[in-house]
């Protein structure tokens, strides 16, 4: 089956190459005439249905804004190109993400690929682009999972020529957690509930040693399997150790199960800091916890209080958030800004390239790209590893919305240590007080 498919892809790819060569070599006059309306094709792959659908919920709105801006085309080096954005939904399936990427590359002949949200999306799409020699920018994937997870080795030159990633990583979590936790007096005992999956193990390996060095006692009962429906053993352990700080990186449904059970069994009464990640990213997940969602702490990669506007569309964070709420009736969420920043960065690379229709030129532009975007500065020349530009995470807290609000919870920024330009608009409150 896979043999057949790969052969078919190869044949199709070879056909496209041969056809392209014919066109370029055999029909020069036709190509010249077509110049006036040359089109830049941009692929955009994100999860919009399936378990990761929360991430892609705002994408149609972002795409609408981007398409409106690009309606009159994109001018690069004095020449105006029409722009076509081909957006695809992975249905939260990594295999489908890979297939879609290959289809866009071989079938639609895209010039650049943009992709976002979780390793399950960004990694397979990046791999397909790397293999085919198509420039690709990804975001919202912990950069360690993207860079090392695809086979790069620490200390060795980057194996990637075509693919780039700007995103927070494990290091940004640490940078954010410790100053934030200093805001509340605790016994410095951290209960960690990390699953036995790609994210959980990366966090366990990198974050726990750093926390211990920073003077915290870490109680780690070990990785649980995703889909565990009873956490009595872990809860008993955390209770016995009297951990006042709690940190977790679970799948959202597992957290709901854990947190309710932990409340039933009396653990959450002793928690002062409840720091959740990977869950509690979006308002609906926190709302579904009912009153237990109040005062949970989360790291946000974008917030409507960020001071940066979109360089491509010129939209400000408030305009984006309010526009989305107005258009959909749903509460704003952080992926809006992240998806928008992906277009900011992708089009900044196209604009700064010598020829946006030449893939090598676009990749070269990416390798030296320094630009502003909706999530802040992106700079591929000075990352911790090549091809990567880390972005910020700010500490935020979910608090009950003021009476009269349309929504159940508000999200406020309580610490900005990773980027002082982001305004802090509330003081951290202990989970129990």
């Amino acid at each position: 089956m896979s043999d057949l498919r790969s052969r078919r892809t190869f044949v199709r790819g070879a056909g496209a190459v041969a056809g392209g060569a014919l066109l370029a070599g055999g029909l020069p006059s036709l190509r010249l005439r077509a110049d006036a309306a040359e089109t830049i094709k941009v692929g955009f792959i994100s999860p919009r249905s399936g378990p990761l659908a929360g991430f892609g919920e705002g994408d149609p709105y972002v795409l609408e804004l981007v398409r409106k801006t690009l309606g009159k085309g994109l001018t690069v080096g004095g020449k105006t190109y029409a722009v076509e954005i081909l957006d695809r939904d992975t249905q939260s399936d990594p295999a489908r993400a890979s297939t879609l990427a290959k289809d866009l590359i071989n079938g639609s002949g895209i010039d650049v690929m943009l992709t976002t949200s979780t390793p399950e999306t960004v990694n397979p799409v990046s791999d397909a682009c790397e293999a085919a020699g198509v420039p690709c920018v990804g975001t919202i994937v912990p950069w360690e999972a993207w860079y090392f997870g695809r086979g790069a080795k620490p200390g060795q030159p980057s194996p990637y020529k075509w693919t780039y990633c700007f995103s927070f990583g494990v290091k940004q979590f640490f940078d954010q957690f410790v100053p934030e936790w200093h805001g509340i007096e605790t016994n410095k005992k951290v209960a960690v509930l990390y699953p036995n999956d790609a994210d959980g193990n990366a966090i366990r390996a990198h974050l726990i040693p750093d926390l211990q060095k920073a003077g915290y006692t870490v109680i780690d009962p070990g990785g649980y399997e995703d889909g565990t429906s009873d956490f009595s053993a872990q809860i008993a352990r955390f209770k016995a150790e009297k951990c006042e700080i709690f940190n977790t990186f679970p799948l959202p449904p597992d957290f709901a199960t854990f947190w309710r059970q932990a409340t039933q069994q009396g653990y959450t009464k002793m928690v002062k800091i409840a720091q959740i990640a990977k869950t509690g990213l979006f308002p609906s997940g926190v709302e579904s916890l009912g009153s237990l969602g109040d005062r949970l702490l989360s790291g946000f990669y974008w917030h409507k209080e960020f001071p940066y506007k979109s360089t491509l569309t010129g939209v400000t964070p408030h305009e984006l958030a309010d526009g989305y709420e107005h258009a959909t009736g749903k509460q704003w969420q952080q992926q809006l800004g992240a998806s928008m920043s992906l277009f900011d960065v992708g089009f900044a690379a196209l604009k700064s390239s010598a020829d946006p229709k030449k893939k090598a030129d676009v990749a070269k532009a990416l390798s030296t790209l320094k630009t502003q975007s909706m999530v802040g500065k992106v700079d591929f020349t000075s990352g911790p590893v090549p091809n990567v530009s880390p972005t910020i995470l700010v500490s935020t807290q979910w608090i009950k919305a003021k009476p009269g609000s349309k929504f159940a919870y508000d999200n406020v920024i309580v610490n900005n240590v990773t980027d002082p330009k982001v305004p802090v608009n509330a003081k951290i409150v202990p989970y129990n007080s």
Partner: protein, 297 residues
């Protein structure tokens, strides 16, 4: 410590048994492995949620309203899909319910979006009674357990004591012979499907109160329900309760040994029971299938 783990495991088992009830009933009576079970449970949760939000009533009251709706849906399911697919062999219902699951998941996504939901039952979601300072029994967990026992017991009584129950059992044994003694086997099956889907609605409601759900939660819930049914002996309702408890206790003991042991211990019990039945059945696949299909006790 161990006592607490076992106690919580038993309560968890009640939840599994409740999840598995409809699956067990459908397999026992109609010989259908309903792969859309999890998705139908999530659908019921959405129905209950919609009713509760539209009329501002408690989810329990909304469940009472939803029960006849889901029972009707079960009837419809039998008449339109299951009956037709049963006619073309025992494999077809497996395929058609699998397809139904995919259709339901994506239809729910279209209708309700990707957001996570939960049924709002206020403090009941996390309230508990302290037995000792170290051991707490969740009120919802206990309620789930009681409902599971009542539901499974009620169904058992219904099957053995009522005329409709007897008709369903007779049809299950041999539809043609049942027709000879004046039972309308189509009606009996349709009634059984309606009852089964109504129990799935109860399971879905408790699922939605215990944790959160979204349109794609269904398939992950199916596996525990399926294991509970197989451990308890497919088709036996009390067996399903015992199977659920065995699964829950095994998982909690496994997780006490190592957090990774939670799922593994459950799967191990499932496998051991399956292998033991296979061994007892004399290593003949045909008798194995017969052993799995023990009729309702």
């Amino acid at each position: 410590m161990w006592f607490d783990q076992i106690l919580q495991g038993v309560l968890l088992g009640g939840y599994y048994a409740l999840l598995a009830c409809g699956l067990s009933f459908m397999f026992g009576v109609m010989r259908i492995v309903n792969l859309a079970h999890g998705s139908i449970a999530v659908l019921s949760a959405f129905v209950v949620l919609s009713i509760a939000e539209a009329f501002h009533i408690s989810p329990f009251l909304a469940l009472v309203v939803a029960l006849p709706i889901m029972a009707a849906a079960g009837w419809l399911l039998q008449v339109t899909i299951l009956e037709r697919s049963l006619r073309s062999g025992s494999l077809t219902p497996l395929l058609s319910t699998f397809g139904l699951a995919v259709v339901l998941d994506n239809a729910m996504f279209q209708k309700f979006g990707a957001n996570t939901h939960s049924l709002d039952i206020g403090d009941l979601a996390f309230a508990s009674w302290n037995v000792t300072p170290d051991i707490a029994i969740g009120q919802l967990a206990l309620l789930t357990f009681v409902v599971a026992v009542a539901l499974l017991g009620g169904l058992q009584l219904f099957l053995s004591r009522t005329p409709l129950g007897r008709a369903i059992r007779a049809t299950s044994e041999d539809p043609d012979t049942a027709e000879l003694v004046g039972i309308d086997s189509r009606r009996a099956y349709a009634a059984a499907a309606a009852i089964a889907i109504a129990t799935v609605a109860i399971a879905g409601t408790f699922l939605a109160m215990r944790a959160t759900f979204d349109p794609y939660t269904g398939p992950t819930q199916l596996i525990f329900a399926f294991e509970a049914v197989v451990i308890g002996g497919t088709g036996s309702l009390w067996g399903t309760l015992i199977g659920g408890i065995a699964l829950g206790v095994a998982q909690n003991i496994g997780s006490q040994i190592s957090p990774q042991g939670f799922l593994i211990a459950g799967h191990a019990v499932f496998f051991v029971v399956l292998a033991a039945r296979f061994f007892i059945a004399g290593r003949d696949p045909r008798t194995l299938i017969r052993a799995l299909r023990r009729a309702p006790a």
